[in-house]
């Protein structure tokens, strides 16, 4: 008998006498936050900042200038823009634009100063950004290897209050990356240290449309 058949047979024997398990009761809340887009956005801001992301707010017209300022503030000379990122977002920056291509190696990404992306959804209650590889977000590796990530969130369209509200908006067939603050470790005497492996600096721009 193959291991597959053996395991399945053992499972069936193990639960043969077990009574039916009931349907799952889903009487938990779908959100813990009042249905008010302004309050939800403020909560997102607060929770992102609480996890040590640097948060900025702007109107659509102010985005290019803000991004230019943030990149200049870092002294970034190269910036990675994934396919589909609106060209006008980076129109104000003097940093050299690099495109991510399937041929780009991890070493090449390692040499890039900053990466700017959009996101698929942001979750206020947990301070989480979700990237799904869609337009303007790029492959998973581009928001991982460079040391500085700027993520642009369009509010209110991309902002939800809670995890239960986020999942139905996401396609499980796409690879997803959920980001809540910069990379962090607490493995040394539980002292939180930012950035063991992912970007050490995460900046989030909330664009109120």
């Amino acid at each position: 008998m193959s291991s597959r058949d053996q395991i399945l047979a053992r499972v069936r024997a193990a639960v043969a006498d077990a009574p039916e398990a009931p349907e799952v009761t889903r009487d938990y809340l779908t959100t813990h936050t009042a249905d008010d887009p302004a309050a939800v956005l403020d909560l997102l801001h607060e929770n992102l900042a609480d996890y040590r992301a640097l948060v900025h707010r702007t109107r659509p017209g102010g985005l290019p200038a803000l991004l230019a300022r943030l990149l200049a503030g870092r002294g970034a000379t190269t910036v990675l823009a994934p396919p589909g990122l609106p060209a006008e977002w980076l129109a104000g920056s003097t940093a050299t634009l690099t495109a991510d291509t399937p041929a780009s190696t991890a070493q090449e990404l390692d040499a890039v100063d900053s990466v700017v992306t959009g996101c698929a959804v942001a979750i206020a209650e947990t301070g989480t950004l979700v990237l799904d590889g869609g337009a303007g977000q790029g492959r998973r590796r581009i928001t991982l290897v460079p040391d500085h990530h700027i993520c642009v969130v369009r509010a209110p369209a991309q902002v939800v209050a809670s995890v239960p509200q986020a999942l139905p908006r996401l396609d499980p067939a796409r690879p997803l990356t959920w980001i809540s603050g910069p990379s962090a470790t607490s493995d040394i005497e539980l002292d939180r240290v930012e950035g063991v492996h992912g970007p050490r600096t995460l900046e989030v721009v909330l664009v109120e449309e």
Partner: protein
């Protein structure tokens, strides 16, 4: 590189040694108290915690009840998404499958995401025997691996090491495995983390094969989920060309929606955060993004035997958050190594003897490595009644030859706890003997399976009350 659990002394013996190690006890006490206080706050933020906990429990129970169907469904969805599914009846078979897959790539080294399942089966040692170097990339696992040590906590495996010890390990050993530690490395956590970043980045950027576990697998979509903090997981899951994930068969959830429960309860229970810094999900392979070859190894290794036990099977609900470790007075004093298994603390005391059987000295002693205070049950996000399973397993061990009472006394004494708390010992013994009487050998099916709360409450209140009033 890392140690093995074979021939471990019984819990009392190992605990006695640990209790005398002042550094270890100090490190542990600091760590567990810090996390558990934070956890209580993170949980209090959610008004519906009790409902989420109950839903998590029900999802897992339903999954286990129909595990055969969900496994087959998962296999279909992973295959349809471009992955390959392998089945491993035990650790040896899983190790053989993984070694074969690595060899087929022509590579001799792999990068690893921290994974309990691969530790459980001794994968690193098995790969080493085949001439394949497996690099742990989680910071704590790296500390453990470089120190030729064993992990002592599910979540923070190097919890027993302080910064001075870590500095010493890095300075001494990093050069043997790759990029050396920087000159003049101090014991500041930021500097230590930076040294690890540089040492590991070199490995990530050249790695062709990654090995991981998974926190969840979604049957309906074939999606795997890894929850982490550092980004080493993302590195291993996205940079290599080949990804091999070794996952216990109990890690399935039926639907995509089910993740909404666990992605709320797991981070808050484990690191006491609203959400962990990084969560990755992937479904088979994706064009030009991440590994182009994905293998899932489904691991039994004692899980079906655990599933067959009406009382003990609830241990398979465990989502490895480690909350039960952080509240356990015995774990706090004895340390993780005393449990002689990759699963320490209260969950280890019930899971290891079920996965491995109760024949060995260490496994027979584990059900006694507890005060039955019930704190582990209170914090468990999937409501595993650990005291109930402990009492049940004590019956099994006692049935093997009457060494139960001796083990109980020895375990408690070794943990250096009840000696200073005679009232607790008395209450604990009362609790244990009383609850034992409440548990017939075979429990009435429906209640045991679907809702352990239908069973008589245990252990009885006096001891829990005493504990709540007196907990340190």
């Amino acid at each position: 590189m890392s140690g093995t659990y074979l021939g471990m002394p019984s819990f009392p013996k190992a605990a006695r040694e640990a209790v005398h190690n002042e550094t270890l006890r100090g490190n542990l006490r600091h760590a567990t108290h810090t996390i558990r206080d934070k956890r209580a706050k993170a949980v209090a933020e959610l008004a519906d915690w009790a409902q989420l906990r109950e839903a998590g429990k029900q999802i897992k129970d339903r999954t286990l009840r129909h595990l055969d169907e969900y496994l087959v469904q998962l296999e279909e969805s992973v295959t349809a998404a471009g992955g390959t599914v392998h089945w491993a009846a035990d650790g040896d078979e899983a190790n053989r499958i993984v070694a074969g897959l690595v060899k087929a790539t022509g590579e001799r080294e792999v990068v690893k995401v921290k994974s309990m399942a691969t530790q459980e089966i001794g994968l690193n040692e098995a790969l080493e025997a085949e001439g394949i170097a497996a690099y742990e990339t989680d910071l704590a696992e790296l500390i453990v691996q470089l120190g030729e040590d064993r992990p002592s906590h599910i979540l923070v495996p190097a919890i027993h090491r302080n910064r001075g010890e870590i500095r010493e390990i890095f300075a001494r050993t990093m050069s043997e495995w790759g990029r050396p530690a920087p000159e003049g490395l101090t014991d500041s956590p930021a500097e230590l983390a930076e040294a690890a970043r540089l040492h590991l980045r070199e490995k990530f950027l050249r790695a062709k094969v990654g090995i991981s576990g998974a926190n969840f697998m979604v049957a309906e979509t074939g999606t795997l989920v890894v929850v982490e903090s550092e980004g080493n997981g993302r590195m291993c899951l996205t940079l290599p060309e080949t990804l091999i994930s070794v996952v216990g068969i109990e890690k399935i959830v039926p639907t995509w929606q089910d993740l909404e429960v666990f992605l709320q309860t797991l981070p808050r229970s484990s690191t006491a955060e609203r959400m962990n810094p990084y969560t990755s999900t992937w479904t088979g392979t994706t064009d030009a993004d991440g590994p182009q070859d994905f293998h899932l190894v489904l691991l039994d290794n004692g899980r079906t035997a655990t599933l067959a036990d009406e009382v003990g099977r609830q241990a398979l609900r465990c989502i490895r958050c480690s909350a039960c470790l952080n509240v356990c007075p015995v774990y706090e004093r004895a340390g993780g190594h005393a449990y002689g298994s990759v699963y320490p603390g209260p969950i280890g005391a019930i899971l290891s003897p079920q996965l491995r059987g109760t024949e060995s000295e260490i496994d027979a002693s584990l059900p006694y490595a507890s005060s039955l205070c019930g704190a582990c049950y209170d914090v468990c996000p999937v409501a595993i009644d650990i005291p109930e399973v402990l009492v049940h397993l004590r019956e099994r061990v006692a049935g093997q030859g009457g060494r139960g009472h001796r083990l109980e006394k020895a375990a408690m004494k070794a943990a250096g706890w009840v000696l200073n708390h005679p009232a607790a010992l008395a209450a604990g013994e009362r609790a244990a003997s009383r609850t034992r009487g409440l548990h017939p050998k075979r429990l009435p099916g429906a209640a045991a399976w679907t809702d352990s709360r239908d069973l008589p409450e245990l252990p009885p209140e006096p001891f829990r009350d005493w504990w709540k009033k007196n907990r340190t």
